[in-house]
Each structure stands twice: as C-alpha cells, then as structure tokens.
Symmetry: C2
Subunit: 210 residues, 2 copies
C-alpha cells in the first residue's frame, strides 16, 4: 500500500464508499469511470488517479466491478473490522449519533454512554444505560474501547483526555471544539459542524461575484 | 479574485478563520507563516500558497497581521454578511444546530423553525416557535430566507425541495442524506457525519499497518 495518500483523496473515499453502496443496493454490478465521475461530480481522470492510489484499476472497456471496488474501499477505510465505541456527553449531538442506526451495520459498537448530569445517569438510550462519567476510568480498565466520541462541552472534555488516552483508546472523534494534542499513538478526528456552513456561505458569495 | 481555487484550499479556510479568531481572542496581533504552519499542521509553503490564492501576502520578516488576515478570510467566506436561515426538522441535529449559540455572532439569523410533528408544532426552541411544515410555502413567500437547513429524514425532505428552491432560497445545508440536484442558482452543502468517522477508522487502520 502506497504511503502519503493526499488528505483530499482520503476525504473522498467515504463518498466513493457511500455511492458504491447505493449502486450495490440497486443491483448495479459495474460502472465506467465516466459514469462514476458524472455521478460524483469529479473528472474521470481524477477518479482513475484516486483509485490507482490504492491499487484499484478499472478494466478498459469494462470499467469497475462495483462489488470488488466497494469491498476494497471498505477495507481501506478499516470498515471490515468492528470498533467498540463510547460516547461521552448525551446532549443533542450525542443522542443524534447514537440514534443513527447505520452505525451497527458498519461495525460500530456502542459499549458505553456517559454523562455527568445526575438526572440522566441511570436512564437508557437505545438500550444503553447512561453511566456516571466519574466511572469512566474503571469502565475503560475493564472494557476494550477503540474509539471515544466526545460530545460534551470543551471545558468538560479536557480533564477526560488523559483518562481516555491512558486506558488504551486509540481513536477520538471530537465534537467538543477542544483543541486536543493527542499522543502519537492516538488518532483524532475533529468535527466542526459550522465549517461546512462556512463553505456554503463561501459558495453563495462566489455565486454572487459571478 | 482568482477563480478555480481548489476545494482543498476552500476546505481549509474555516480552519484558518477559527484559528485566527482564537489568536485575536488572545490578543495576538501578528504571526509568522512558520508559527501558523506549526499550529495548523501544514507546511509554511502550503500556507503561503493557500493565502496567496486570495491575495493575502505575508510581509517578509513580519509575517501576517492577524486582524487583517482574519477580516480578509471573513469576507472571502462571506461572513461579513448576514443570512436569514430556517431549520426544517427539530430532531436532535436540528436542535443541536439551533442551540449552538455561536451562530448569531457570525451573522446567522434563524427566522423560522419547522416540523411536521403535531406534538412539537407551537412549542418554542430558544424563543423561536416551531411551525407546521405545511405552512413553509406561505412563510417563504412572506419572509426573505437565504439558507434552508434540512435536518429531517431524507424521504420527508424530497417534497420540500421544490418549495424551498421556487421561493428564492439560495443555499441548502443538507443533513438529510437525500441526494439533491439543486438548480444552477442554488448552492448546496451536504453533511454526512459518518464520513469523518470513516476517516478516523482509515487513520486507525493506517496506524496499524505502520
């Protein structure tokens, strides 16, 4: 596997994955890079370049085998494995993520949900009991957790990072707006919902400029 | 203004904007491209290239004037204007977006909130009354709305697109997973929260491969 794949390519992979999954659902077994490019709003040569990065070559005159390509991208994205996850913070975003049923299908396993609000501790969300965040350290010592999802305010998140990282959690999906410098062996993905709104207003402004 | 700025550059602009805003909040008035690059995890030459796209040149030996650069990026992102927005769908994501108070500060004005659930219609969220989605057409005919935020299930969103687009809404921030082909004069930004989770699992997998 070649290294140094550009982050722009990596950002497109989930789109390929989603789109190919849709084709499979509709019983479509092959697609030309031209068709794929039109549907995905990329050039055909960009698609060939993107996929060549990962050793996925379309066949001249045939195009791509949708299922093979889907499975390959699935592996590249690490979705052929399962991940034990916890959510810390059961506000709107935390609940939205939990409710999003697609998770289970893709190998995301919620094994724990935490909050610090005494009114919420002990309640159930989708069959998972909300635990006291003060018990996080004990929990992580007894359960293998791969990914921690931070959906609590940034100032509350800060004190938890050490607990999370010291207990072998390898990935942090961070909605908390806390700038986290994780240790080298921990991967972090920060989500700023308003970034995409800013891209929308950028495009609106570009439109007006003509 | 040069055209054909790559989408990778545009995707980085909100990060520059957020980061520079943080510097301003901390009273920092200038920064070298080297410092900026270390903090933002980009190369100094990448930062110079990015910002040159928009005519923002650092001064040799001085670096960037933080406030000027912040203001310039603010304009480029269209954040020097105000936007009237509506939210359609008051589930977890809709509520999370509404609650995110930063909005007001940046010129995002929520002028209407809609749902189809009779139990919710008439209730207030942050001082805004939830309206019946059946009144959307009338509402849009009497109020100027720039951006519609779709936070309802895809199959419910479909029938609303024509109403939104025909009433002069220019931007759609789409959380609904409905693949929308908007007319040429309408800009759309699709949000797939799980895309960033897939990037996290990609990086975890890369880490393991070494």
């Amino acid at each position: 596997m070649e290294k140094n794949i550009s982050s722009a390519v990596i950002k497109r992979l989930p789109r390929y994955y989603r789109y190919l999954g849709g084709l499979l659902d509709n019983g479509i077994s092959r697609i030309s890079s031209k068709d794929l490019s039109e549907k995905m709003n990329l050039t055909a040569s960009q698609i060939r370049q993107d996929l060549n990065n990962f050793g996925c070559f379309g066949q001249q005159g045939y195009g791509y085998n949708v299922e093979l390509l889907y499975e390959e991208i699935r592996k590249i994205l690490g979705l052929d494995k399962t991940y034990n996850m916890i959510i810390i913070g059961t506000g709107n975003i935390g609940q939205a993520l939990l409710n999003y049923i697609n998770y289970q299908k893709r190998g995301y396993n919620f094994v724990g949900v935490f909050d610090k609000n005494p009114k919420l501790i002990g309640l159930n969300i989708r069959g998972i009991e909300i635990r006291d965040v003060d018990t996080l350290d004990d929990f992580l010592k007894s359960e293998k957790v791969d990914i921690a999802v931070l959906t609590l305010p940034g100032n509350n998140a800060e004190s938890l990072i050490d607990i999370i990282v010291n207990n072998g959690v390898r990935g942090i999906w961070n909605f908390s707006h806390l700038p986290i410098k994780p240790p080298e062996n921990v991967v972090i993905e920060n989500v700023h919902l308003t970034d995409s709104l800013m891209q929308l207003t950028y495009k609106l402004t570009e439109h007006e400029r003509g």
